[in-house]
Amino acid sequence: MEDLVANWAQNTHKRFHRMVEFLGALCREVVCDLRNWRRFRWRDMLYYLALCGQKSVSIVLLICFLMGMVLALQAALQMRKFGTELFVADLVGFSILKELGPLMVAMIATGRAGSAFAAEIGTMKVNEEIAALTTMGVSPVRFLVVPKLFAMLIALPLLTVFGDAAGLLGGLFIGSTWLDLPVQAYWSRTMDVLSPMNLVLGLVKSCVFAVLVTFAGCWRGFESEPDAQGVGRSATDAVVMSILLIVVGDMLLTMFFAMFGY
């Protein structure tokens, strides 16, 4: 029993040490690439931008539109009792912009990009490509992680804007059909209660989520066991870790914003 605990503690310590090293290397390489943009791998970033961004637009629009509808329907059921249906616009607007827009986009990115990052890096480990990079003196973090991080930092906020718009339209659709509210009235109410700050806070969250999803995907990839099952496990672990980090990050950011009255 003592041996088991000792082994667990030793492994956890080693893993934590590697994680800190990975984060340190990531910060160092990001700074180096920002200082010397010529060495930045633009082509790779564009590839990942298409993977995480362009190819996710339709699914983000659909899910966020449906989420806006669901939210409006649930709110309408309760508010109807008090004759305050117009406030559905407030609830949908705030919830989508500040919370559900960035959160749903991050979840979609986790399924789409986070697992793909882990599987890609894990497979490269199996094929000894990571070893080849290291012995060529090329930092695997710079080569593999930094382009993904920048792609996600561009893609997620953009997708969040699309998702926010789709969510608001979903609410508007229910407001104008189910609640028989005039489109103009619902939209005016939405625009009246929302401020640009609500959008900015959501975008800040989406940037943080981009970092967390990239970190979880790439980290699990580098930690993958060098076999087929190991790669599969790392992809699954990446998704679980991403979701956990996103939810914890969301809670912390919401608390932080709340401290300043947002």
Partner: protein, 251 residues
Amino acid sequence: MSEPVIEVRDLTIGYDNRVIMQHLDFSVSRGEVFCIMGGSGCGKSTLMKHMIGLFRPMAGDIRLFGESIVSAPEEDKRRLMKRFGVTYQGGALFGSMTVAENVMLPLAEYTDLTESEQREVAEAKLKQVDLAGYGDYMPAELSGGMRKRAGMARALALDPELLFCDEPSAGLDPITSAGLDRLILRMREESGVTIVVVTHDLDSAFTIGEHVIMLDKEAKTIVAEGAPAELRDSSSNIWVREFLSRDGLKH
């Protein structure tokens, strides 16, 4: 005997707390083709990965060109890595890049050559490994043997003084394998590069190997060292004689 390029002193290697090999002592002279041999799973590739600085040994030291790769700071390690090339079992080419771009990668990293100059060097290196005209192919479009040769072109991009080859003939038919052996010998003839080959292929070992060390999984150390034919004929270790003469009688 010429100066040693690699010196391995009282080396112990392993994963976590599990020792795989211990008390390893050997050196590789400049310009020779040195083979690391042994049965499957005995730790040949692991030893090579320690020699190229990918893993940290449990004890002992590895010196490349007179400098320890074990205790060298990152910057010195990177400088040492520039002086050697490595080819991996499956080629380890990057699937998202063309063959030429793979070869250009170390040039882009370490030299100030323009992109067109890098391409010229890449084409020359590909020609050297008989892959002229394949620069624009993707790695997935090449056969196993071609991928290994492309990996060799990449390893030779910076004209290294030392080349490590991990199982160059693994998974290849005898003709392709013999072609790779000829290529290794030609590299040595043309550029005088020192070559360390990890292999369990007897044909390769007898064709290219000038100096061989035999690793034994049970003894967890080197059980024989010398020229392959010499070891086959007169090693005091019966396992070594059997291993080397299993289908090596024709040599």
